[in-house]
């Protein structure tokens, strides 16, 4: 299909979002379906068609989403209303909006990767990730399966956690 001339092409806006948890294991296609589903659910098919959302690129926990100019509000609202992807609870936070991907790239600051952490709480060994700012994502395993628990360095002291690594807490 022949493309439109520049004067007839629609203007677009690009939205930079951060995905939480940072180690979410899903494809960009699944993120697109989640966003598209959220727009349709909130605004219906007509507005969803006008928004014309698309996922452009994903770099670690950052995602760039495209929409038609003037429909950023609807897209941001739909992104804020996303709760889970494939049954995993997620949170997408809008960071910036721009007319070019190049401008968004300047805002992309990769997060410093966390250090793996192993500790003992209530005589049970737990593993997780510790970030530079003191945040800890702990993987809690029990009979029902495993789930993430979000805490901080100070909380570990409250739980009387002892790390099994010398560089830990």
């Amino acid at each position: 299909m022949k493309h439109f001339s520049p004067s007839l092409r629609e203007n677009r806006r690009y939205i930079l979002t951060r995905i939480m948890p940072t180690d979410l294991d899903c494809e960009i296609r699944e993120l697109y379906y989640a966003i598209s589903d959220s727009i349709t659910s909130l605004y219906g098919d007509c507005i969803a068609a006008e928004v014309n959302a698309a996922t452009i690129l994903r770099e670690d926990s950052l995602l760039v989403v495209r929409c038609r100019r003037g429909r950023e509000k609807e897209l941001c609202c739909a992104i804020a209303a996303i709760r889970s992807i494939n049954g995993t609870q997620v949170r997408l936070t809008t960071i910036a909006t721009s007319g070019t991907i190049a401008a968004l790239r300047k805002r992309m600051r990769p997060e410093t990767p966390g250090q793996p952490l192993t500790c003992i709480i209530n005589s049970e060994e737990q593993s997780g990730i510790m970030y530079a700012d003191g945040k800890i994502d702990l993987i809690k395993r029990d009979m029902k399966g495993q789930e993430l628990v979000y805490l901080t360095k100070d909380d570990m002291e409250k739980f009387h956690a002892t790390t099994t690594k010398p560089d830990g807490i």
Binding site: C76, C77, Y150
Partner: protein
């Protein structure tokens, strides 16, 4: 101006500790949190207030909670019209919550007037807009739009909260504004609602003469 997230549910009810939620709240642009069943404190520059939600649906439970938790923000889950009117006449109650679950006639112009006169805020739980889908979300949006209509006429206060049980459930102030715009709230109205709680709390925590 204070920006308060009314009612979060940290660990053990949720999967995130209060400190971690306070860190996230600071990143989200809040300066005050109301944590359900946690003691008041300060973490990472965030003021944490103790919150209690009475959901038993009886006036006895409400009065008992007011007597026992004098330094807490007390929210009462809405019931039928008669119960709501009794709650709104009770001194010491700060918020009426869960109005999206009650009947449409459970909060009418009479209860709206009572809420305005007694300075009791109506709590809007944003998590309901996120977690519900289809018909149930439409119902919540319709209910909140109806409450907004009454608020604009009678002038009672709104208090907005994320109702988060996890850091993944917390939303930024900008996202709150966007989500409340779904039922017609303006940015100014949302910002006013986010700053309601400390005023209500200060008003009722002053010493008063009991005859």
């Amino acid at each position: 101006m204070t920006v308060t997230d009314a009612f979060i549910h940290p660990f053990p009810k949720g999967d995130s500790t209060l400190q971690r939620m306070a860190m996230t709240a600071r990143e989200c642009g809040f300066d005050t949190l109301i944590a359900v069943n946690h003691h008041p404190c300060d973490y990472h520059g965030i003021r944490i207030l103790q919150g209690v939600i009475v959901s038993e649906g009886t006036m006895k439970a409400v009065t008992n909670t007011i007597r026992q938790k004098k330094r807490a923000i007390i929210g009462v889950a809405a019931g039928d019209a008669a119960f709501n009117r009794s709650v709104l006449k009770t001194r010491g109650v700060h918020l009426i919550t869960d109005l999206h679950r009650s009947q449409r006639n459970a909060f009418d112009q009479v209860t709206a007037k009572l809420a305005a006169e007694n300075r009791i805020a109506v709590h809007l739980d944003i998590s309901q807009l996120i977690s519900c889908r289809g018909h149930s979300r439409q119902k919540v949006l319709g209910r909140y739009a109806g409450l907004l209509l009454l608020q604009r006429k009678f002038g009672f206060s709104f208090a907005i909260g994320s109702g988060a049980k996890s850091i993944l459930g917390q939303r930024t102030v900008r996202e709150m504004i966007l989500l409340t715009s779904l039922f017609g709230m303006t940015e100014e109205e949302t910002m006013t609602a986010l700053g309601t709680i400390p005023d209500l709390f200060l008003d009722t925590s002053r010493p008063r003469v009991v005859s």
